[in-house]
């Protein structure tokens, strides 16, 4: 089947097998290997990307379901050499070690902050429940998300504005 998708700002049109998962399409067809696969039961969240501005686990979606959609991966977050505030906060707070869960963790954190711009610790922990990390014990991830929230509050600077226009595009499918 032919699909047309926009990934990290570039439009692609490809023939895909109907059974191809979105994550396999991203990695194998488009070479978007920043998005990784950590499990086969949609528990770990390592493959999380944004589909029309909402986080989805790209292992639990077929590529054909993404036809016509706009996808942002971890590779498309930094613009003009400037890190997204959540990426910056993960670095500043030592919120990653091996880094394998990090793409999914960052993408989910951005979605979480879009829904709740000022989450308390419990809200962050619950919001990231679908993303597993084996290295950090989560404490610094929680700290990073709350640190990013501080930097992204209205009036906190251009990063915050950039995020709202890039990430929360009108939703076609997915999200709540």
């Amino acid at each position: 089947m032919r699909i047309t998708v926009t990934v990290d700002g570039t439009e692609y049109s490809d023939e895909v097998e109907p059974r191809t998962l979105l994550v396999h399409y991203l990695r194998e067809t488009l070479g978007k290997v920043g998005t990784v696969i950590g499990c086969d039961t949609s528990n770990c969240g390592a493959c999380t990307v944004h589909l029309n501005g909402h986080s989805v686990k790209s292992c639990s979606m077929l590529a054909v379901q993404a036809d016509g959609c706009e996808i942002t991966t971890i590779e498309g977050l930094a613009r003009d050499g400037q890190l997204h505030p959540v990426q910056q906060a993960f670095h500043d707070n030592h919120a990653l070690q091996c880094g394998f869960c990090t793409p999914g963790m960052i993408m989910q954190s951005i979605d979480l902050l879009a829904d709740n711009p000022n989450p308390d610790e419990k809200a962050v922990r619950e919001g990231l429940e679908g993303n597993l990390c084996r290295c950090t014990g989560y404490q610094n991830i929680v700290r990073a998300v709350r640190d990013a929230a501080d930097h992204m509050r209205p009036g906190a600077g251009p990063e915050a504005e950039r995020m709202s226009e890039d990430v929360r595009a009108p939703s076609a499918i997915g999200g709540e």
């Binding site: 920043g34 990784v36 499990c39 030592h94 880094g99 990231l128 290295c135 991830i141």
Partner: protein
């Protein structure tokens, strides 16, 4: 002019490694593509024990895009047997562990055939088309059942499932008294007590986040292997030995590696099979496992039964300890399988001055996935057992568990101290770590609350758990490894290259997979050579770039590999001093080196190390007879292990009506010696705590009666999420190691080793007044509720 620069060592530097990881510009093995790359998938036995009958590969072979299907028999002339680096007894027979099973499968997950196809999806489709006849054999899964007469034999040629018996006795070793005699004496003494307990270390799965992956490129007679491994150097040597490849033709690259925790401290069957397939087809081949495959077939950890006997005077002075350990090897040996429980032998006496100690170990084969190193490897098991025992002994004696520990532990003024297990602890201060932990914890306040909750029969009860741990790490003095029968030494290598532009390349034989060595080693070298942190590049993980090393495990990287870096840097300075003296027309003795500059004492004349590097590069004006290089390397072999320690305190709430456990507070104060980067240390502690808490409360690999793994996905194997874990309060005390110039001890495993008993002690403490004195791990709501129920103490 000596500028005062803030030392790099000790600074909480954010990591150099992060830039590529947070932007997705990563180099995981599975990201690798090569022209003509083929994909390998495995046919695994769903049966735990069976003779292999006919394998019909015809349908699979004929599928479009399938290049080859090989059975174990097809590969047997070349596949060799998987290496074991750690036999316990020189005369013990090591059963064959073929990369692909030939006549018989011995656990559900054994490879019986491999498929190679043009893409991964086709390879997996073809796996389903391979038809294997299995002639089922009776399975043996339980260690005690495996030791009974007439039990099915995993390796009939051994005539038993009991592989080896290892004993350490302090009386025989001359390191203490006779434990059996001391226990008998205590039994006969009304002023003494003898306490016995059996603990079970459940089977765990390391569950690194990046599934294992290997890519093999056979070009000419050169074999290049990319692998998600902790041990590229060991893999290079072992691949050569196993498959008969010339070692000088093998290059191993560990690119970005997504966690290991001991789980990637392995030379794998799948690596060997991928090499064989690539060589046969003369094409590059990739194998990447699914999570289910990883949980099934990557090695597991723990799985021990610990029979503990402790004797003490009624005043709390321990007089003897005896440990009888059974360790489940699973169906085969991996690289260090039998070494793991043996390693624990030296840690059961922990921080205490026990006068007599006996350790007996029985290694048992069963029809399950083989076990091997998992974070701590032998030491978490030992620490759990002794720290649980100390709490049980305190309860029996009616004394405070902290006071009981203090009565028996080594006092800070008694270091260096040779233990009853024969190790010499160089330094430590258990009093200081405990005092700091108590300050942070409000021990007295929580004890008051506990009493109040008990008195008012609150359905939510509160328990306090203690763990005052130590561990042996910094693997390891080569001489000691030799005595233990390990097939390699424990040295580590580093080299430093001074580039023409004044930048510095540091080559390390350690192989990080999340720890942050690039950052920490840069800090060490920046200080030592007086160069900017940013100017130092750390190279690792490719045997062509870092040709010499023994890799990363056992909390050894800093305490061994970091010291090699320090010593190499010192050699650079020594070599540079000669050149500087020549350039400055001064005597070497008149130079002082500080802040990256050689200065002639008492003058303003000087030359920077970067200027010396450039002068060495041009070599236009060089001292007579001196080699034009200031590069240096060093191989460091430690004289002793290092011994981090700490005091961990856990307050847990137990809902006596549902059995649910909630960690309300977790405080740990670790003493890991000097610290290079506190941010990295904190991260290691956090992650270690999470894994130790996971053993206490959540994780267990289980099998059904037929030997099928019933925790084969992340739906069933409960890796804790952020919502399952608490925030931790961490702090440090600092007693420098005296056996290395940095004073460091290692931190990779500390959190995991210490936290499991702290949590279980807290859970048991919460319900002890209801008649409970043990709960098997993981302390799930069901187990906790059942323990309360069967003790008859429900409120």
């Amino acid at each position: 002019m000596t500028a005062t620069i803030e030392p790099e060592v000790g600074r909480a530097r954010a990591r150099k490694e992060d830039a590529r990881l947070i932007t997705g510009r990563t180099r995981w093995t599975d990201n690798m593509t090569l022209p003509g790359l083929l994909h390998l998938a495995t046919v695994r036995s769903p049966i735990a024990h069976a003779n292999i009958g006919r394998i019909d590969t015809d349908v699979a072979r004929r599928m479009p895009g399938v290049l080859a299907v090989y059975t174990g028999a097809d590969l047997d002339a070349e596949q060799g047997t998987m290496p074991v680096a750690a036999p316990v007894n020189a005369d013990a027979t090591v059963p064959r562990h073929a990369p692909a099973a030939v006549d018989k499968v011995r656990f559900a997950g054994d490879v019986v055939a491999i498929v190679v196809a043009r893409d991964a999806a086709t390879a997996r489709d073809a796996v389903d088309a391979v038809d294997v006849d299995y002639d089922d054999l009776p399975v043996v899964l339980d260690m005690e059942a495996a030791l009974e007469d007439g039990a099915p034999l995993v390796h009939p040629e051994l005539g038993t499932n009991k592989w080896a018996f290892f004993a350490f006795d302090s009386a025989e070793a001359g390191t203490g008294g006779n434990s059996d005699e001391a226990i008998r004496a205590a039994e006969a003494d009304p002023d003494s007590i003898v306490l016995k307990r059996r603990f079970r270390q459940q089977r765990l799965i390391p569950a690194f986040m990046e599934p294992r992956s290997v890519v093999v490129d056979p070009t000419g007679d050169q074999v290049t292997i990319w692998s998600a491994t902790q041990v590229p150097h060991i893999l290079k040597t072992m691949a050569a030995l196993t498959l008969g490849l010339p070692e000088q033709k093998v290059r191993v690259i560990a690119p970005d590696v997504g966690g290991g925790f001991g789980g990637k401290l392995q030379v794998t069957r799948e690596e060997m099979l991928t090499i064989l397939a690539a060589k046969r087809l003369n094409r590059p081949v990739k194998w990447t496992e699914s999570r289910s495959e990883s949980l099934l077939a990557a090695h597991h950890g723990r799985d021990q039964i610990q029979d503990m006997t402790i004797a003490a005077k009624k005043d709390g002075t321990v007089t003897a300890l005896k440990v009888q350990l059974m360790a489940d090897m699973g169906a085969y040996f991996g690289l260090f399988t039998p070494a793991v429980p043996t390693f624990g032998a030296f840690m059961f006496n922990a921080i205490y001055k026990f006068p007599a100690y006996r350790f007996e170990l029985t290694d048992v084969f069963t029809n399950k996935t083989f076990t091997d190193a998992y974070r701590g490897a032998g030491r978490p098991e030992a620490t759990f057992a002794i720290e649980r025992m100390m709490d049980e002994l305190a309860a029996e004696l009616g004394t405070d568990p902290l006071q009981l520990r203090e009565k028996n532990w080594i006092k800070h003024e008694e270091f260096p101290f040779t233990t009853v297990a024969g190790l010499t602890y160089d330094s430590g201060n258990y009093e200081a770590a405990t005092a700091r932990a108590l300050e942070l914890f409000d021990y007295e306040g929580l004890r008051r609350e506990q009493t109040e909750r008990r008195e008012r029969r609150d359905p939510i009860q509160l328990g306090i758990g203690i763990s005052t741990f130590t561990e042996m790490c910094g693997l390891a003095p080569s001489r000691v490894l030799g005595q233990l029968g390990v097939g390699a030494g424990g040295w580590e290598h580093a080299s430093i290259r001074m580039l023409a532009t004044g930048k510095v390349e540091v080559v390390t034989g350690t192989s990080p997979h999340g720890q942050g060595h690039e950052t920490a080693w840069s800090q060490i070298v920046a200080d030592r050579l007086g160069v900017p942190f940013e100017d130092v590049e750390v190279l690792h993980g490719d045997t062509q770039v870092a040709p010499k090393g023994l890799d990363t495990y056992g909390s050894r990287s800093l305490a061994v590999g970091g010291i090699a870096v320090v010593k190499a840097a010192d050699k650079v300075i020594d070599k540079a001093r000669k050149v500087a003296a020549h350039l400055l027309e001064a005597a070497e003795d008149d130079l002082e080196f500080s802040g990256g500059r050689f200065a002639v004492k008492g003058t303003d004349k000087g030359v920077t190390i970067q200027e010396v590097a450039f002068a060495t590069f041009t070599a236009h004006d060089f001292p007579e007879g001196v080699e034009p290089s200031i590069d240096a390397d060093y191989t460091f072999d430690p004289e002793n292990f290092s011994f981090p320690h700490g005091t961990h305190l856990c307050a847990a709430e137990v809902d006596t009506e549902t059995g649910r456990v909630k960690i309300r507070q977790y405080v740990c104060v670790d003493d890991i010696g000097a610290v290079v980067n506190p941010l990295l240390v904190e991260g290691q502690v956090h992650g270690g705590l999470a894994q130790g808490i996971a053993q206490a409360l959540f994780e267990e690999a289980t099998y059904d009666d037929s030997g099928t793994l019933t925790t084969g996905t992340f739906v069933d194997y409960l890796l804790p999420s952020a919502a399952d874990l608490p925030s931790y309060t961490t702090d440090r005390t600092e007693t420098r190691a005296t056996t290395n110039p940095l004073g460091v001890k290692g931190v990779g495993e500390a959190g995991t080793i210490a936290s499991t008993p702290a949590v279980v002690n807290a859970v048991v403490d919460a319900v002890r007044h209801l008649g409970v004195n043990d709960i098997e791990m993981p302390c799930s709501p069901m187990r906790v509720w059942s323990a309360i129920k069967s003790a008859g103490g429900a409120q």
